[in-house]
Amino acid sequence: MAKSFDVVIVGAGPAGSIAALKLARAGRSVVMVERGKSPGAKNMFGGLLHNTQVLNELIPDFHERAPLERHVYKKSLAFLTAESAVSLTFENENFDKPPHNGHTVFRPAFDNWLANEAVKSGALLLCECTAEDVIKEDGRIGGVTVKSREGEVRGKIVIAADGILSFIAEKAGLRQDFKTGNMGLGIKLLLGLPEATINERFGLVRDQAADVSFLGATGAMRGGGFLYTQRETVAIGLVVHLDSLKESGRTPYDTLNAFLEHPSLKRLIKGGTPLEYSAHLVPEGGYKAMPRLYTDGLMLAGDAAGLCYTNGINLEGINLAMTSGALAADTAIEALDANDFSARRLARYKKRLDRSFVIKDMKTFRNAAGMMSTDRLYTTYPRIFSAIMEKMGRTGGAPRSKLLRLIRKEAMKEAGLKNLIADGYKIGRALL
């Protein structure tokens, strides 16, 4: 196998497939090198395909054709202590109308479908090919070597969309060592339940999905829990900060099991049949942890480019990935027209990203990663919320105090003034 293409894309995930689709439609020869048996076989996420403009534009009828599960209708944020839960739920009839704000999907199904859309447009898909190293020639990246079906795949431009542990980015010298401080570990268990049971337990009808985020789900560890409903399954799991996991000395699956045993969760998933267990790293360092995005002959897209952020409310990655794939393709088309594959030319990719919501949002929440590393967010604050709710609701003869006094008292007792000010500053800088 020694072929040459206009563009070689490493990884047929959402970023790679969108790039391939755009390039193929523009009549360029493009190949996707995918290490899974089929696209999506190696991919895992929490569960939500966000509403993404480039997907809507490229495949306007994807709602009808893609293997989607349910559309998001109900969004909740829950603060957990060992024995309580305080939650805020938002549901809106507008979420029931297209364009939906997001769909739950299974990655092995969705990624496979998306990659095949690119194939239908003329892209070549090579599965069971693990890209191992970059080929350097004339001072630029000119392809990748592949193990399994040993060989080389050459191209004028390489787009590395090979995920968070992008060895291609590393070998091209675009990124430093992978750091625990910039990564989260996602663990997920998929449980099968009858459709009617899911609808009943979560208060849903038809294709409506629930999206629940949990804070305080991980004991003393920094991280959060998530729950998404598909048609006949519930995906439930955790994302924990790697550095915090290491410090805690706890095992990830003990933490997951403890989460599943929480009283408010237990009844939601009762009787569920375990179907699949999966894990993946998540780039959580935000804007400050991004690698360099391009060099001569190479661009990074999706998780490989560190395009993912969380601010406690939003958790976005797949939409940033697809958008970056589209912008990398636009840049590649322009570079092919100009027959110039230099870093200087490919710098336009970064400019395009900067102008898009991708980098704008990453920049807006550039301090969120720092905020999310505040330990108290995961232990003290859920306790404060729980104590306030309990005192507000409990009857039995003890005289009540007015709300502000109650809040102040509980917050001072649990956190202390100094911490409250420090955390308020951090949260304010990150979100307000």
Binding site: R35, K42, E128, S148, E276, Y277
Partner: protein, 91 residues
């Protein structure tokens, strides 16, 4: 629920070639053994008597946690050869 059951839920296409190789000399002297604790699939076991670290790469979920976590640089971790390794169906 225990971990044996959890990894049994997941499908693996096992290669005869290991994609994780540890440096026993370094692992012998390691006292943190983060890999043993942090592996989600219980791939690592340390035998106190022989002071050897054994790796069951066959049920590796390929998350890379051990690789990122090991601060001794003792884990030579790669993606499995194409087509092998974890094969998710429903995640």
């Amino acid at each position: 629920m225990n971990i044996e059951n959890l990894t049994q839920l997941t499908q693996f296409l096992v290669d005869d070639r290991a994609h994780i190789i540890v440096n026993q000399e370094i692992c012998k002297t390691c006292d943190s053994r983060a890999c043993v604790k942090m592996c989600l699939a219980n791939c690592y076991t340390f035998n106190e008597e022989t002071r050897l670290l054994s790796v069951v790469y066959e049920t590796c979920l390929e998350c890379g946690t051990c690789y990122v976590m090991c601060d001794k640089g003792a884990i030579d971790w790669n993606y499995p050869r194409g087509g092998f390794g974890v094969n998710y169906r429903l995640t």
